[in-house]
C-alpha cells in the first residue's frame, strides 16, 4: 500500500462514517435490537481478511498434531471460526427477530 492509497482509503473511511450517521439516525427505536444484531453481523466482514490469512501463507513453521502449517495460517483459521460465528449467528438471530414484528 502506498501513501497515496492510504489517503484514498482514509477518504473512504471518513465518508463512510458520515454515511453511517445519516443512515442509522433514521432507524426507529422499535428496531434498535435488530439494527444492533444486524450491524453486528455486518461487522463480521473481517471474515474476508481471515480467509486470506488462513489460506495464503506458504511458510511452514508450526506442526499441529502432525499438520504442517504456519502461525499466520493458524491465527487466520481461528479468525475464520470467530468471524463465521459472528456472521452466521448475527444474520440468523436478526432474521428471527425481524420476522416477529407484525402489525395488527
Amino acid at each position: 500500500m502506498t501513501f497515496h492509497e492510504l489517503i484514498l482509503l482514509f477518504t473512504v473511511f471518513v465518508l463512510s462514517i458520515f454515511l453511517g450517521f445519516e443512515l442509522i439516525s433514521k432507524v426507529p427505536p422499535i428496531l434498535h435490537t435488530p439494527l444492533m444484531s444486524g450491524s453486528n453481523a455486518i461487522s463480521g466482514i473481517t471474515i474476508v481478511g481471515s480467509l486470506v490469512s488462513a489460506g495464503s501463507s506458504l511458510d511452514v513453521n508450526v506442526n499441529l498434531f502432525g499438520y504442517q502449517t504456519s502461525v499466520s495460517s493458524l491465527l487466520g483459521f481461528i479468525a475464520i471460526i470467530f468471524a463465521t460465528i459472528n456472521v452466521v449467528g448475527g444474520y440468523l438471530v436478526t432474521d428471527r427477530m425481524t420476522r416477529m414484528f407484525k402489525k395488527k
Binding site: 463512510s16 443512515l23 426507529p28 428496531l31 486470506v52 495464503s56 452466521v88
Partner: protein
C-alpha cells in the same frame, strides 16, 4: 481472480450492506434488509475464495463449517429474553477476528510502512478490547459474572496506566525495529521487540477489555453493548487499513457509526455522559446515603380481585414494561392480559423507555415475540402526555425509569433523567417482587404516591392470577 474484479465485487457487497441497513430502518422491510446484507456478505466471501493469493483451502473449509455450525446453533436456540448477551457474544467474536487477522498479518510479514504498523496496533487494541469486554458483558448478562459494579481502589489510575503502557508499546511497534531494540535494550526490555512486542500489546488489550467493563453495573449494559458494537465496527475498519481493503473500511465505519449513535441515545435517555457510565460504579455508592435522609414511604397494596375489577372498568390502560418482565419471562402473559382487556373494549398501549431492559430495543423484541402488534408500542416522547388521560398505568418490572424523583428531587442520582410520567395516570399499579430499590439504589417515591398501588409477586405469576380473576368476573 483478478484483483480489480475482486475490488468491484467488494464494491457491490458494500452497496448491498448500505441498502440493507436502509431497509432495516422500517419494520415492513427490516427482514428483507437483513437478507440483502446477508447476500452482500455471501458474495464477498465467495469472491474472496477465488482470490489468487489463497492457495490452501483445508483450514478455510474446516473453519467455515465449524463457525457456521456454532453460530447457527447459538442463534436458533437462544431465548429472546437472552438476546442482549447473545449480541454481546457475537460482537466479541467479531472483535476477536479483527484482532487475529491483524496479528496474523504481522506474523506473515513485518509491516513495510509506519502506517501499516499503526493500523495493526489499532486493530489489535480495539479488537482485543472488544473481544474480552464483550465476553465480560456476556458474563454479566448471563449471570456468570456479577451484575454489580466491581469497584476497587486505584481502579481508574490502574486502567489509565495500562492504556498508556499499551500506547507506548504501540509507538515502539510502529518505529523501525533497529531503533526500537536500541532504546529497549537500553532499559533492559529488549525481549519486547517485533513479534514479542505485538504479543505484549495483545495481552494488554485483552486485560484492558476486562477491566473497563467490570466496573459497569447491569442496568448500564445498553450503553456498554452499543459502545462495544461500535468498537467491533471500528476494529474491522482498522483491519481494512492493515489489508488495504476498502470493503472492510466502509462496512466497519458504518457499524462504528451505528454503535456511536445508539450509545449516544442510551446516554441521553439516562441523562448521563458516556464518561460517567464508563467510569462505572453507578448505584453502588448511593444506597446508604438515600436511606438516611428519606422519610418512610407508606405504600398501599392491591389484591388481584380488586385490580381485576378496576381494569374491567377502565377504558384506557398503558403498560410500562421493564427488565423485570424479561427476567420473569412474562411477555406472553402480558400479551394475554392485553387480549383479555381488549375483549372488554379497553384501549391498551405500551410505553417503552429507551433504556428499559438490557439493550436498546430489548422490550420491543420481547413484546413482538409475544405477538403484540408493533403499532401498540409507543416511544417515550409519543406517549408521555397520554398518561394524564389514562385510567390505569401498569408498571411491570420497571423502577428507575418511572421514578418521579428524576423530575422533582435535585439530590437524586437520577435527577434530570427523562422518565415515563406514570404518576400522572389516575391510578398506577406497580407489579414488583419486593420493595427493593432499583438499579440506582434509591427508593422510588412513586410507591408512596396516593394514586399508586403495589401488586406484589413475580411478574408472570402475578399477571396469570390477574387474568384468572378477569375471566371470572
Amino acid at each position: 481472480m483478478n484483483q480489480d474484479i475482486l475490488i468491484i465485487i467488494y464494491l457491490i457487497s458494500s452497496a448491498l450492506f448500505i441498502f440493507g441497513i436502509k431497509q432495516l430502518s422500517s419494520v415492513k422491510t427490516a427482514r428483507q434488509g437483513n437478507l440483502t446484507s446477508a447476500i452482500g456478505m455471501l458474495i464477498a466471501i465467495i469472491a474472496t475464495l477465488f482470490d489468487q493469493k489463497i492457495v490452501n483451502f483445508e483450514l478455510i473449509i474446516i473453519g467455515l463449517i465449524v463457525g457456521a455450525l456454532i453460530g447457527a446453533i447459538f442463534a436458533l436456540k437462544v431465548e429472546m429474553t437472552a438476546m442482549p448477551q447473545m449480541v454481546a457474544l457475537f460482537n466479541g467474536f467479531g472483535g476477536g477476528a479483527s484482532l487475529l487477522v491483524a496479528v496474523a498479518d504481522y506474523f506473515k510479514e513485518s509491516p513495510s510502512e509506519v502506517y501499516i504498523a499503526v493500523s495493526i496496533f489499532l486493530s489489535v487494541l480495539i479488537g482485543g478490547v472488544t473481544f474480552t469486554g464483550s465476553l465480560i458483558a456476556f458474563g454479566k448478562l448471563q449471570g456468570i459474572v456479577t451484575e454489580k459494579a466491581v469497584v476497587y481502589k486505584f481502579q481508574h489510575p490502574i486502567n489509565l496506566l495500562l492504556l498508556i503502557i499499551t500506547i507506548v508499546a504501540g509507538i515502539f511497534l510502529s518505529m523501525d525495529q533497529l531503533t526500537t531494540s536500541q532504546i529497549l535494550s537500553g532499559i533492559g526490555l529488549d525481549i519486547f521487540v517485533g513479534e514479542n512486542l505485538l504479543i505484549l500489546i495483545t495481552i494488554l488489550s485483552l486485560i484492558i477489555g476486562v477491566l473497563i467493563v467490570i466496573p459497569i453495573g447491569g442496568a448500564d449494559m445498553p450503553v456498554v453493548i452499543s459502545l462495544l458494537n461500535s468498537y467491533s465496527g471500528l476494529a474491522a475498519a482498522m483491519t481494512g487499513f492493515v489489508l488495504g481493503n476498502a470493503v472492510l473500511i466502509i462496512t466497519g465505519s458504518l457499524v462504528g457509526a451505528s454503535g456511536i449513535i445508539l450509545t449516544n441515545i442510551m446516554c441521553k435517555s439516562m441523562n448521563r455522559s458516556l464518561l460517567n457510565v464508563m467510569l462505572g460504579g453507578f448505584g453502588s455508592t448511593t444506597a446508604s446515603k438515600s436511606q438516611a435522609g428519606a422519610k418512610e414511604i407508606v405504600i398501599k397494596e392491591v389484591g388481584s380481585e380488586e385490580l381485576a375489577m378496576m381494569l374491567d372498568g377502565a377504558s384506557n390502560v398503558i403498560i410500562v414494561p421493564g427488565y423485570g418482565m424479561a427476567v420473569a419471562q412474562a411477555q406472553h402473559v402480558v400479551k394475554e392480559l392485553m387480549d383479555e382487556l381488549e375483549k372488554r373494549n379497553v384501549n391498551v398501549r405500551f410505553a417503552i423507555h429507551p433504556v428499559a431492559g438490557r439493550m436498546p430495543g430489548h422490550m420491543n423484541v420481547l413484546l413482538a415475540e409475544a405477538a403484540v402488534p408493533y403499532d401498540k408500542l409507543y416511544e417515550m416522547d409519543q406517549i408521555n402526555d397520554e398518561f394524564a388521560n389514562c385510567d390505569v398505568a401498569i408498571v411491570i418490572g420497571a423502577n428507575d425509569v418511572v421514578n418521579p424523583a428524576a423530575r422533582n428531587n435535585p439530590n437524586s442520582p437520577i435527577y434530570g433523567m427523562p422518565i415515563l410520567n406514570v404518576d400522572k395516570a389516575k391510578t398506577v399499579v406497580v407489579i414488583k417482587r419486593s420493595l427493593n430499590p432499583g438499579y440506582a439504589g434509591i427508593e422510588n417515591e412513586l410507591f408512596g404516591y396516593p394514586n399508586c398501588l403495589m401488586y406484589f409477586g413475580d411478574a408472570k405469576q402475578a399477571i396469570s392470577k390477574l387474568i384468572q380473576e378477569l375471566k371470572e368476573l
